[in-house]
Subunit: 553 residues, 2 copies
Amino acid sequence: MTTTAASASSSAIKEAYDELAAGLREQSSLEGVMGIIGWDELTFMPPGAADVRAAQKSALAGVLHDTATTPRRGELLAALADVCDLAAAGLAPGQVATVREATRAYHKKAAVPRELAQRRAALESSAYSAWVAARGADEGRGRWSDFAPSLRAWIDIIREQAALTHPGIPDVYDAALDDYEKGATAARMDALFAELKRGLIPILDEIKARRAARDAAAGGPVDDGAPLRVAIDVGAQARLCRAVAIDLGFDLEAGRLDVSVHPFTGGCAGDCRMTTRYKPNDFTEGLTGTVHETGHSLYEQGRNPDALWSGLPVADPLSMGIHESQSLIWERSVALSRPFAVYLSNKLSSFGDQPGDGAEPGDREALRPLAALSAEDIYRGMNEVRRESFVRVEADEVQYSLHVILRYEIERDLLAGNLDAADVPAVWNRKMEEALGVVVPNDAAGCLQDVHWSAGAVGYFPTYVVGAVAAAQLHEAAAAALPSLDADVAAGNFGPLRTWLREAVHHRGSLPASGDELLELVTGRPLDAACFLRYLRHKYLDADDAIFPAAPL
Amino acid sequence: MTTTAASASSSAIKEAYDELAAGLREQSSLEGVMGIIGWDELTFMPPGAADVRAAQKSALAGVLHDTATTPRRGELLAALADVCDLAAAGLAPGQVATVREATRAYHKKAAVPRELAQRRAALESSAYSAWVAARGADEGRGRWSDFAPSLRAWIDIIREQAALTHPGIPDVYDAALDDYEKGATAARMDALFAELKRGLIPILDEIKARRAARDAAAGGPVDDGAPLRVAIDVGAQARLCRAVAIDLGFDLEAGRLDVSVHPFTGGCAGDCRMTTRYKPNDFTEGLTGTVHETGHSLYEQGRNPDALWSGLPVADPLSMGIHESQSLIWERSVALSRPFAVYLSNKLSSFGDQPGDGAEPGDREALRPLAALSAEDIYRGMNEVRRESFVRVEADEVQYSLHVILRYEIERDLLAGNLDAADVPAVWNRKMEEALGVVVPNDAAGCLQDVHWSAGAVGYFPTYVVGAVAAAQLHEAAAAALPSLDADVAAGNFGPLRTWLREAVHHRGSLPASGDELLELVTGRPLDAACFLRYLRHKYLDADDAIFPAAPL
């Protein structure tokens, strides 16, 4: 090949890439519009506009589908796919990753015919209604059998879609996972979760045994969480939590903090809309919710600003699991630590001292019951291990993953055809007893508690555990890189950790092809259950200042 | 033609109409999305998201253009255009009007090539920047010559576009008008405005003469507006005005009331987003702004809910002038009347009496200076005729139309090629002296005061006067139909007028083809300057309780 031919071909590649990137940026803008109207729907939209908004979202979804599957996109990707080495042809690594991610997304979207997409949308509505009705049935105890047919329909549709998007895939669950945790496989999750379960159940059993001994010594059950469960004005809670989010690094120039019924992080790249909710008698919920969503928001606000990346898939967060690791590293590794309790205790006492700190007159008085607590009381209150844990979203960090793993095992069996939807409650309840030692009282508090399956989100649950494991690994690596991390957190100086995460995770966006690849880069190991188990055992059982120390001999 | 052939053709027409309507509804949904993100941009968007939002709006504008000009739309409209009598073919009147409006919009949009649309967008940005800079130039006195080239470019582009959208139109200003006031012609506006000017100048002169006599008798200038220009907490103002908007009938189930730098009514059909602003020392501005925007909002919220109309052009507000009539009938005919002053006086005194009336502790104290005024003081304060009127947006109802007419005369001459952009200040200043008797001190307070021309909005100004004239006619008709109108307004019972407007104007949407046609239907006459002049002369000069009564002999 002559040099002239090579550079002509190189310029054709550059041209194809530029046209592809322009289309992807337009798509990203339209997705951003969807993000903003979705946020508006859950925060400020008047109630009577629900139907109008539904029609708007449907119209925009149609436009987005057309934009993402335009034949021209397919032609450009095909032209680029013919090039065996895009980097050698002059594309930068971020551009190569953009082509990779665009190809992945295009083939998945284009493989789904409009008719199937419409059936999915219809099932989403009907299954959601069935789930709401089933939860409320039998005087609020719930009736799974009312929902089972919808789940069965979802399993069928997910199999049908997997056959189109991943023809010939040996394990259909891999296709389901690919929607949420790219690069992960069911075989990998099987091994990871089995190791976790093997480690978590003994930790939990040991905690229970030591707690029973402590209760006996105290002459009755000790309630660690009680000091934090006092009535606090929600306005004062909200202003304090807003100040905490700002301390953590939430950028109000490029986002908003509001209140909504369910906390979420929405909006779009460059305009992050985060919400929290507050309960009058449970300060912890509002605070941990705020810190959790702030973690998600820092990832969103930390996209790589490189002009070659901006508005393109390579700048997007890597996966749901890695996104969750960013919320959990702040919610658990940081906010459930002793140094954070010191920071929070100081914050509670000093809120309102500085002009412009966000406090209003009366907040100091409203927060007094919390400000009076010691840092150690706060630490122990926030790290309460529930005696009976039925509900995933209320679970503590020790029991949480066990909740998720049993969902994974069930949906894996459903998709493999080893379990029928009708039999979910029996399996659920047996697994709850085996893993968590609780007897589920009814379906509403059991297998009907989560919305995910009603939306067809099979393959989503594992990302919660991926996030928990990755958070522990990233925090271990951060602590190794930042010797003064604990002292910084205690002093409310969150900048060093935020900067470290920005470089290690946020700015890398979707350059790595999987969570494993990112973690290898940052921590030297792929997802590693051992690190997470080490963290829990040390904190709750083995450390000198463990929450449940070994009973003195 | 046999019956079978007729009904086959009828069913083909029905099919074409249904497909057209589905496309128009989708377009309306996407326009609604634009309305919501446009509202968000001016209210809640974080400042750093401006570039992201600009890219989103540009992407969505592209989608909207494609949707509105899709060749299939053209085919369907052509098929329907071939039918000489759509009503005979089975379409309802609202459907026939939808075809008419869709045809009008399609031909105008499709006639503008993408290249021209892009040049317009670029000029919008550069002309706006030039206008801002020109206003600020010369230490805030403004320098028209910095903006003149932009206006000249607009005039060229508007002519170029008119040649495409209205080939062979004898008066190019008619094409400009058509973008804002369909069915209106420059010849019609010439006649209307000439009659108005002939009537308004003598009224204004007589007011000035009687005021001079009154001042002389009082030994110095009497300041009617002073009692309302007192310092009032803006929070208290906002809550009172919100309560007024709700009294007038703003529906919070289908809209929101917020605060923004410039008041506007935005959002979309079914989700009306209205904003107001408040000034610490000028209660009137916040109140009249609120009532004005409420008038616009009631029109938007009053769309005909008929399923055959919903989401289609026939349900849209008729024109900018008729929209303005809906804001002005509430702002002027109602809120500047004596009965409204009685209502407002009672409202100011009783705000905070009823639980749930929207008042907060402290509002009663904050509003005390206004609550202490008599209804007559409020009436006179709100109807102050400015001694020197330079600025259109601050003008009273007597002088307002004169401000607008001179803009109309100038832009008419610009478009006709009888005036060069460079010569605008001289013409402006001469006309201001002739019509309003004031010497314009500089360009910033003169021909650079309005943003419209920088956006290429030539043909927009006349709609303000159309609105003022139509409001007077509609109010005269309402008063004839509702004998207890004044008593109802004084009692804060705005339902009868609102219901009357809903049936007479709102529900008719775009069924009539022009403002003249609507007014003929409702008042028996097309736009009629005499009615507006009669209203002003009676209120300010001739009535027994006129604001400037004839001096006693």
